[in-house]
């Protein structure tokens, strides 16, 4: 390969990909920053408080103040910790939360093609694979910290995430069976008449609850469990290494909301097939739906008490798994005989 070839390869192939990556990751980072503010504001409103309102108008600059505070603090590595793994764990969490966005179609461009970095055949499988890797950031963090509390938190979360992944997997199988494709764009297009949330209604609720467990959000935030194991797996982390866990958790929340929207709420499709709704761009619909699901995440956090550990396991294995398994059989029967 000579220089000219290399240059054209770079310009034609790498540059659009790089631009796409930046176009996804920068808005995502801003969304994460404002999701933290939204969480504090929503919970404050539900508890009749004001929430952050000092930094900037309505507290809008609070996320930046938090970020600056986080960056300027000292990074502490506990003695006896495994240095390399200790620093690697938050990076893994954060990178995996970002990498998954490569296959999420966020809307349509002007020609009606999906707006997505990589429109691969097995998009949903890729998402599932990446989200199942997310547990490593937590378990490695807990082990590398050389601390009992962190280790307990890591073990809890490993068990929790593996349990709920099983039912998430079966729920995804029902969606794939019904829509006949693993490509996320096809799944959305197959929901043109009826959203999957209507056809697979119980699965929609199950998926949302499993998403709460998968992202370690309340009421399933046992890995953190402030009242019993201080802060779980990231108790030893400070400064930006803690910040990366924080960013990763919120990016994962947005990711799971986007997955819920794509799989069950018709992605970027408007709720009714009328012209007035089609006038609103697809991207806006998608973002609106994601914001709605995210609001539910925050709403649940403000209203639900934390589950006990054995209740959490019981719910995952004895309730969700049989239900989703039964639904797989039902959906398969419907696809074969019902149409």
């Amino acid at each position: 390969m000579d220089i000219a070839n290399l240059l054209s390869f770079g310009l034609n192939t790498l540059l659009p990909i790089l631009a796409g990556v930046l176009l996804i990751s920068i808005p995502l980072m801003i969304s994460v920053a404002y999701l933290t503010l939204a969480e504090r504001k929503v919970i404050a409103a539900m508890q009749l408080r004001k929430g952050p309102n000092i930094v900037g108008p309505f507290g809008l600059f609070q996320p930046f103040a938090d970020a600056i505070k986080m960056i300027t603090k000292e990074t502490i590595v506990p003695s006896g910790a495994n240095r390399l793994l200790f620093m690697l764990a938050p990076m893994m969490t954060f990178i995996l939360a970002m990498v998954a966005w490569a296959v999420i179609p966020v809307g349509l461009d002007f020609n009606g093609n999906p707006l997505v970095l990589a429109d691969i055949n097995l998009g949903i499988l890729y998402l599932f694979a990446v989200s199942s890797l997310g547990v490593y950031g937590i378990i490695v963090a807990g082990w590398a910290s050389n601390s009992t509390y962190a280790f307990l938190g890591a073990l809890r979360s490993a068990a929790q995430m593996v349990s709920y992944e099983v039912s998430i997997g079966f729920i995804i199988v029902t969606v794939v069976l019904l829509n006949g494709s693993m490509n996320l764009t096809d799944i959305v297009n197959a929901q043109k008449d009826y959203w999957n949330a209507l056809l697979l209604f119980p699965m929609f609720i199950l998926f949302f609850i499993s998403a709460l467990a998968e992202t370690n959000r309340s009421p399933f935030d046992l890995p953190e469990g402030e009242s019993e194991i201080v802060a779980g797996y990231f108790v030893e982390y400070s400064s930006m290494s803690f910040g990366l866990f924080f960013l990763g958790e919120y990016a994962n929340m947005i990711l799971m909301s986007a997955m819920t929207v794509l799989l069950f709420l018709g992605g970027w499709l408007p709720p009714l097939d009328i012209a007035a709704f089609h006038a609103i761009p697809a991207l806006i619909w998608f973002l609106f739906k994601v914001a709605m699901v995210l609001f539910c995440f925050l709403w649940v956090r403000a209203t639900m008490p934390r589950y006990r550990y054995d209740q959490l396991m019981r719910l995952g294995w004895k309730v969700f798994l049989p239900l989703s398994l039964a639904m797989v059989v039902l959906t398969a029967a419907y696809v074969v005989y019902g149409r």
């Binding site: 055949n121 599932f128 694979a129 199942s132 378990i139 593996v162 992944e165 054995d310």
Partner: protein, 199 residues
């Protein structure tokens, strides 16, 4: 480009597999095993078997290795003591290694690939990878496939039987009973006169 990537994935896979068996810390071993799995997934991807690649990542990296890690982290294995037996077990290990090596060599010498297979690729037929795999599994190899499922079921039941034990004196939560309770069964409102209390 594909060849270059293959050598990167394959080289990293072999290297990390070597580290798996030589690492002193068992947790490091498992982590390197995960790296090896991921590289194997990359090799599958290059071969055009993207379904297998992702399933490998989901099943082995996402579930099996997590449980490995889970167990290994909890175990308190004294590796110096294990190493003490190294010399004693060396002959058996060497014999097993040679046996496996001979098997591998024999297999690679006698392995014949049908010419049609070497030139076929999934993109020729217009059938996606997943669909092709499903067609083969549920038609030609249905007996072997269901047999494998049966073996897994037996293994699962075996694991449950081995670990299930009945303990006395354990208070278990019965959610049905809790939810089915009525206010009249649990609450009683009495008006208490001042200074008398409830008998």
């Amino acid at each position: 480009m594909v060849e270059f990537l293959f050598y990167i994935f394959a080289g990293l896979m072999v290297l990390s597999a070597i580290v798996v068996v030589t690492a002193r810390n068992p947790v490091h071993s498992v982590l390197w095993l995960i790296v090896a799995f991921l590289n194997a997934s990359g090799v599958f991807m290059l071969a055009g078997a993207e379904f297998l690649a992702l399933i490998l990542a989901i099943v082995y990296v996402g579930a099996v290795a997590v449980l490995f890690l889970f167990v290994v982290m909890m175990l308190d294995v004294d590796f110096e003591q294990l190493r003490g037996n190294f010399k004693k077990n060396l002959p058996a290990g060497v014999a097993l290694g040679i046996l496996l090596m001979v098997e591998l060599v024999m297999l690679s010498l006698s392995w014949r690939v049908v010419p049609a297979v070497t030139t076929a690729s999934s993109s020729d037929t217009g059938v996606t990878n997943t669909e092709a795999l499903g067609r083969v599994l549920y038609t030609d190899y249905i007996v072997a496939f269901q047999g494998a499922g049966l073996v897994l079921l037996v293994a699962m039941i075996g694991a449950i039987v081995l670990t299930l034990r009945k303990r006395d004196g354990v208070r278990k939560q019965n959610i049905g009973v809790q939810v089915g309770r009525k206010i009249s069964e649990t609450l009683e409102i009495r008006s208490v006169k001042s200074g008398e209390g409830i008998s």
